[in-house]
């Protein structure tokens, strides 16, 4: 093993007061790997996600990104290292237009920050990248629409596009299909599948079909621990997993 792991989570724990949300979680991802986290509500998936993205600082353990220790870093510092994420509850700039949303995403990615004087319109690099994203994801028609006036499905799609603005090295997707119709779910799943193969993707997903469709490997969480890891067949054949999660299947 010479190349550093894309993501290396070692013995991470997180307590909220007396509640143990995560217990001794260890998880590693190779560059370009696609891992889906499964688990019932309250299993700790989102807590683990927040610990990786920096919205929560782990109580114990170590998290590193491409060999660099990020356990204590703020979310924006982790973003600058090439980590991007989406949110389970749509988290966009609701009163700004689609184009402004993308402009901000590109500004973050290109670190066009603390520029006080020239107008935004004069930053050609930002504009071109934002326009390319509009074209690539078929958003040109809604470019000047205020985000809160878009349908929920469109908002979920932009939620993912925002994270892609900076061509992240590692992408965290927190239930990108939550609340979507089957047709929309299919579209988002296709969108994720079509992402560049060298992008490392960690995804929380409740929809089994989507999970198995996208994942190279699956990890199942239960009560703050990872209880199973493996490919589709291994997970489907795991007795403990079918007991607690797959239920009737």
């Amino acid at each position: 093993m010479t190349a550093p792991k894309a993501l290396d989570v070692q013995n991470v724990a997180k307590n909220f007061g007396g509640v143990r949300a995560l217990t001794d979680v260890t998880l590693a991802m190779a560059p370009g790997e696609r891992l889906v986290l499964l688990g019932p509500n309250g299993a700790g998936k989102t807590t683990l996600f927040h610990s990786i993205s920096g919205n929560i600082i782990a109580s114990a353990g170590r998290i590193s990104l491409f060999g660099q220790d990020i356990t204590q870093l703020a979310p924006d510092a982790r973003a600058r290292l090439g980590l991007a994420r989406t949110f389970q509850i749509t988290n966009l700039f609701r009163q700004l237009t689609v184009f402004q949303n993308l402009q901000l995403a590109v500004c973050g990615a290109q670190q066009v920050t603390f520029k006080f004087i020239r107008p935004m319109t004069q930053y050609v690099g930002v504009r071109e990248r934002a326009e390319a994203l509009l074209t690539e994801w078929n958003l040109t028609d809604v470019a000047d629409t205020i985000v809160q006036n878009l349908s929920y499905g469109e908002q979920r799609q932009i939620e993912v596009v925002m994270a892609l603005a900076g061509d992240p090295k590692i992408l965290l997707l927190d239930e990108p299909t939550s609340g979507l119709s089957p047709a929309e779910t299919h579209r988002v799943a296709a969108m994720v599948r079509a992402l560049p193969r060298d992008m490392t993707i960690l995804m929380i997903e409740h929809d089994m079909d989507v999970a198995f469709e996208i994942a190279d490997r699956i990890a199942v969480m239960h009560q703050g621990r990872i209880i199973a890891e493996g490919d589709e067949a291994a997970i489907r054949g795991n007795k403990q997993v079918s007991d607690i999660y797959l239920g009737v299947e």
Partner: protein, 307 residues
Amino acid sequence: MARTLLFIALAAVVFVALPFVVPSYYVSLTTKILIFALFAMSLDLLIGYTGLASLGHAAFFGISAYTIGILSVKLRMSEWVAFPAGLAMAIVLGMVFALLALRARGSYLLMITLALAQVVWGVAFGWRTMTGGDDGLPGLRRPAFVSDETSFYFLVLALVAASTVVLVALIRSPFGLALQGIRESESRMQALGFNVWRHQFAAFVIAAAFAGLAGALYVYYNRFVSPDFLHVVRSAEVLIMVIIGGVGTLLGPAIGAAAIILLEDIISSQTQHWLLALGIIYVATTLFAPRGLIGLYRERFMARRKP
């Protein structure tokens, strides 16, 4: 675009011609409106653009006024020292407030900024030897080159116009868009790689600087400074100007300032109960025009043009 330029040209003509057309009382009243328009715009940078509600904005306005008053009246310094010192004190106080208050959000931020501003008020009220306490500091003179109403008006007009240009540029810059992003979602901005705290800190200090400029102009306008400059009522008044005019625009707070000062002028000449009237105006605005006068205008007229 052409409409905006026409509007600006028209406004320029009106403001430049004004002192030659109307009596000096109204020149003075317009000077006051310009000063408070700047004060309200500076607050809207925090509230409307960055999403940080402050009920202590008068502290920056007042500390700048007091610095100038003390340096000029007590220490007999020139306005070339006193005026920049006033702005510097407002900026320093802005940094202190930001460091202490930015850990809170929403109504908690309102409470902290209110408390911090009341501390400054308490100092001005209590430190009689320096600030004159309740009596304030009378006897301030305007600089010699702007001693009459008309030339002082033009000084204020020039500085407020220049400040407005700077604020407009700021809002259109990547920094300004980032502030609006922070208003909409701090967590998303962080996830995109923005250092949210540093942006908020900068917004706080810039807002404090422009509030300080307004306070500096107002102390020369008034030739007198008292603890009223710093009082929570003044913070609330400028907040109401912003809300009545329209949060999240620059023109809105300026219009709100004009509306409040004109109404105060008219109503105060009839009755002692101006604050009662202000309260009624505020309630009426939140009920019938929650997006302020600008919002009302946009809903009524812009909606028809752009279906």
